[in-house]
Point group: C2
DNA sequence: TAGACTGTCTAACGTTTGTTAGGTCAAGTC
DNA sequence: GACTTGACCTAACAAACGTTAGACAGTCTA
């Protein structure tokens, strides 16, 4: 809890299928689910253990500390949304318009955040609560993801497709803001990700590029 | 901590000047300052007491529980930003354009959130971490404030001043999102509220109303 | 079949948290 | 000058937290 560094325990690729691998994944799944709804401090090792069906002490067979679990969830979450957005953009025709590309990226981000799994939203919520070492471990993952939006924002500004005098930096921050704030108000029975993606895109891209 | 309801201890008007009133205000100030930077759980009664220069137990002379303090800070914060935005809009000439009005409101909101005092940003950060009763006590204050943005968004959509197919509801959520996410990235030495307000307005209002 | 390894459990530890009961002491009131 | 009140303190409480040590059963390996 007190000491220095958090080892990056996020899963680059799915490991082999030993018996303990399942428990390890179960622990991360439960942690993400609880983290998403309750936040960093309310996500206790005993709560996680209960959800998995083991005892709190047994978690230490798989992880060295609580913060290692949190960091793994956070980083897996950022990596997941980065892959989702990257693949969605890669699936587009080379002739796709700027509007199509932005809407696709926004939809992929919102989908990862609001509908698919708990990791991304869990990481987003936990980040501001988590202690410094956890945030430090997450920073490289975040920067790698934000680079996608840096490039998109620069394209939009260069094309003159948004309001005059808007810098690419501010455009990126505004886009990430309106998307990342959505867990605060999104209700599956009241909103649809496709609609939101279309509206957010139209909002930003009033001048067609 | 466990039980039911949180009495609304926010200060509608500044009370008379008894000796204990200063301590009470000091406690709220310290709580807001710590809450803003550290969040709900890291804001402990002993930390608050230390900052004020009294002992933790003495806080209970002024407040019935920790959550009563948190709720008071949160509600004062929302009321403060509501007053700030309302007064800024009221200070505008009756002939002010829609663009002027939106930029003024955005600037007042960002100013309250990023530069003026700790209450508003503290409340924003604590809200998602706080237990249900605290959030319940905050809801009326939040709704009263959001009504301002509901009306502004409806005006903008009615004037056709933003992207086509954007609902007033989504416009409000997008605006609040890009503004309320700003504490995550704002640095006083790197950004200026006036610039951000101008850019956010231009972003949303590409079609002049 | 002996021994090592895996995965989990029990049972505690030290710390921190919100909270409370009861005491203290100066300032104001009758 | 007795008494009340306001404002604070001391000292503890139970609960919850992350974490650890050591035991135990099942499975794999030599």
């Amino acid at each position: 809890m007190t000491s220095g560094e958090i080892v990056d325990a996020s899963e680059g690729d799915v490991g082999s299928a030993r018996s303990g691998e399942k428990s390890r994944r179960d622990i991360l799944d439960a942690a993400a689910r609880i983290l998403r709804r309750r936040g960093y401090h309310a996500t206790t090792l005993r709560t996680i253990a209960d959800a998995v069906g083991i005892k709190a002490g047994s978690i230490y067979y798989h992880f060295a500390s609580k913060d290692e679990i949190i960091a793994a969830v956070m980083n897996d979450g950022v990596d997941a949304v980065r892959r989702a957005v990257t693949e969605a953009l890669a699936g587009l025709a080379a002739t796709a318009s700027l509007e199509e590309r932005l809407e696709t990226a926004v939809r992929a981000h919102l989908h990862a955040l609001l509908e698919f799994g708990d990791y991304t939203s869990a990481g987003l919520k936990a980040y501001s609560e988590a202690p410094e070492p956890v945030r430090d471990a997450a920073r490289p993952h975040r920067l790698a993801y934000e680079a996608i939006w840096d490039r998109l924002a620069e394209e939009i500004v260069a094309a003159g497709a948004t309001g005059t005098g808007v810098s690419a930096r501010s455009l990126k921050l505004a886009l990430l803001g309106m998307m990342n704030w959505s867990p605060e108000w999104y209700r599956p029975d009241r909103h649809r990700v496709d609609d939101l993606a279309r509206e957010f895109t139209a909002l930003v891209l009033s001048r067609r590029g």
